[in-house]
């Protein structure tokens, strides 16, 4: 009887550890696979960039078709920023600095981050779904059997299409946002246009603010594109598997973008 009792406790402990440990080891295995996948994508990059028409097609699908949502969102975010910023700044008699506030918020933070979040849900999910469905319908296997490497032909162009599109979309988001800020600040609230633009021009540093924003969005572009192509390639070849993979792309991308943003911001703007 005594032995039986100890046996049960041991059993519960073992079960506890295997239940806690299994997701952890699964995650580590998946991360390792993602790293090897990334290396494979990089290895096949020259082939896909030499046939630039393939990448160009992906820039069209991921980038150009995202212009509308990015532009409209940027405009609205800029307008909201101006309304909220004006309300705060006017209490300190600093309403003429509205241009600086809008521009710095956008190029440093909101352009890259919100742009990347929108990009992940608009283009990343589409990339995952397309690759996942190609896998589910054996199109990737067929390609392999025709001696065409699907990573070189399908995955790498989609990856680079995303990487190239992301900074451009983020820049467009910021530009539209600043225009929205101008509309609200100058046209609606009646600030002086000269001081709005002049202060912005003198206070926004190209290297420290604009370039750092571009670097951020480049990192986000790599992260989102890699997550999107990887989840598609790793999807279970069923309808359910593709739907899960698409969800995972959006969720993982959002978390990675925000975490990466904190790390990058900490490096770029500490005390500056």
């Amino acid at each position: 009887m005594r032995w039986n009792w100890e046996w049960r406790v041991a059993n519960v402990v073992v079960r506890f550890f295997s239940r806690v440990g299994a997701p952890l080891t699964d995650a580590i295995v998946k991360f390792g696979f993602a790293c090897r996948f990334f290396v494979a994508v990089l290895r096949h990059t020259p082939t896909s960039l030499l046939r630039f028409s393939l990448t160009l097609r992906e820039i069209w699908f991921a980038g150009v078709l995202s212009v509308l949502i990015i532009g409209v969102s940027g405009l609205f975010v800029g307008m909201v920023l101006a309304l909220q910023g004006y309300d705060t700044l006017v209490r300190f008699g600093a309403s003429s600095s509205l241009g600086i506030l809008v521009a710095l918020s956008l190029v440093r933070e909101l352009g890259p981050v919100v742009g990347a979040l929108l990009f992940a849900s608009r283009a990343g999910s589409a990339i995952t779904a397309e690759i996942g469905l190609m896998k589910a319908t054996e199109q990737l296997a067929a390609m392999e059997m025709m001696a065409v490497n699907p990573i070189a032909r399908v995955v790498a162009p989609k990856f680079w299409g995303g990487v190239i599109s992301m900074p451009l979309l983020a820049a467009m988001f910021s530009a539209m946002g600043i225009f929205g800020g101008y509309l609200i600040g100058v046209q609606l609230l009646g600030l002086d246009a000269g001081s709005f633009w002049n202060q912005m021009q003198s206070q926004v540093d190209f290297r420290l603010d604009v370039l750092n924003g571009v670097i951020k969005s480049a990192f986000f572009g790599i992260a989102v594109s890699l997550i999107a192509v990887f989840e598609g390639f790793d999807a279970a070849p069923t309808a359910e598997g593709v739907s899960h993979a698409t969800t995972r792309t959006v969720v993982t991308s959002a978390l990675v973008i925000l975490a990466l943003d904190f790390v990058l911001t900490a490096f770029m703007f500490r005390g500056a």
Partner: protein, 267 residues
């Protein structure tokens, strides 16, 4: 057999601990059409994937045109696959490309032929499967039988030496069935290739093949020419050819004791 294009020597394959293929030997010569028959889950598709090098044998050797597929690196494997054509069960056409571009895909990707020549070749391949008139359609506009014929035209685009067919007859109407069957035979003879048809469609395949292998539970349990197979007294072959429900292949998947599982008996 030195003139065999495809040869299996005591091949074994397992997913983890579960054996899928055990000690399979077979050989297919140039000009031959061979059927590999067996029920669902008997390891037929695994066999094809090993010939294509998508899976590697755990033991034994898979020879394709005198080369060991298991020992090839990635680059050599891709080189070797140029000699192979595989027709997938449901065609696996690229849904974002037209019929023409699907057939042109291997030509454009694997050769440096001028576009005018690619066009002529594609039209010739489509003519061979009778679908030149469908060149501008998209895959979602095709019926199941037509999609498979387009996939067949794509598979033969590079004039492969070995043609592999994964369940080519599944889900086709009687007319498409006969069409695909005679295409398999004619294309094999025209290409001077070796063909392996993995199937469980007895009547259609016995009509076109030169030799039949029977696979059950991952083992090669019988083989012979279609005539020999039809006359065979082997219980498994008889069950399979006549489509009997119970026999050496049991109706029931092995399970725990029935009475015990329902709780009406104590173990």
């Amino acid at each position: 057999m030195s003139d065999a294009l495809v040869q299996f020597d005591q091949v074994r394959f397992a997913y983890g601990d579960a054996p899928v293929i055990s000690d399979v030997s077979l050989s297919v010569a140039r000009g031959q059409v061979v059927a590999v028959m067996g029920g669902s889950g008997s390891g037929k598709t695994t066999l094809l994937r090993m010939i294509g090098g998508q899976l590697r044998a755990s033991a034994g050797t898979v020879w394709v045109d005198g080369e060991d597929m298991g020992g090839l690196g990635e680059a050599a494997l891709y080189e070797r696959r140029k000699k192979l054509g595989l027709l997938f069960q449901f065609g696996a056409l690229f849904t974002d490309l037209s019929v023409f571009d699907n057939v042109a895909f291997p030509l454009r990707e694997r050769t440096n032929l001028p576009e005018a020549l690619v066009r002529d070749l594609v039209l010739m391949k489509l003519q061979a499967v009778g679908l030149r008139g469908a060149a501008q359609l998209m895959p979602n506009e095709l019926s199941g039988g037509m999609a498979r014929r387009v996939a067949l035209a794509r598979a033969i685009a590079l004039d492969p030496q070995v043609m592999l067919y994964d369940e080519p007859f599944t889900g086709l109407d009687p007319i498409s069935l006969t069409t695909i069957g005679s295409l398999i035979r004619e294309l094999n003879d025209a290409l001077g290739a070796a063909s392996i048809v993995v199937t469980h469609d007895v009547a259609e395949s016995l009509a076109i093949v030169d030799y039949v292998y029977f696979l059950a539970g991952g083992r090669m349990i019988a083989e012979g020419t279609p005539e020999a197979v039809k006359a065979s007294e082997d219980p498994f072959v008889r069950q399979f050819i006549r489509g009997e429900k119970d026999g050496p292949v049991p109706f029931h998947k092995p399970a725990a004791d029935y009475a015990l599982e329902l709780g009406v008996a104590r173990g």
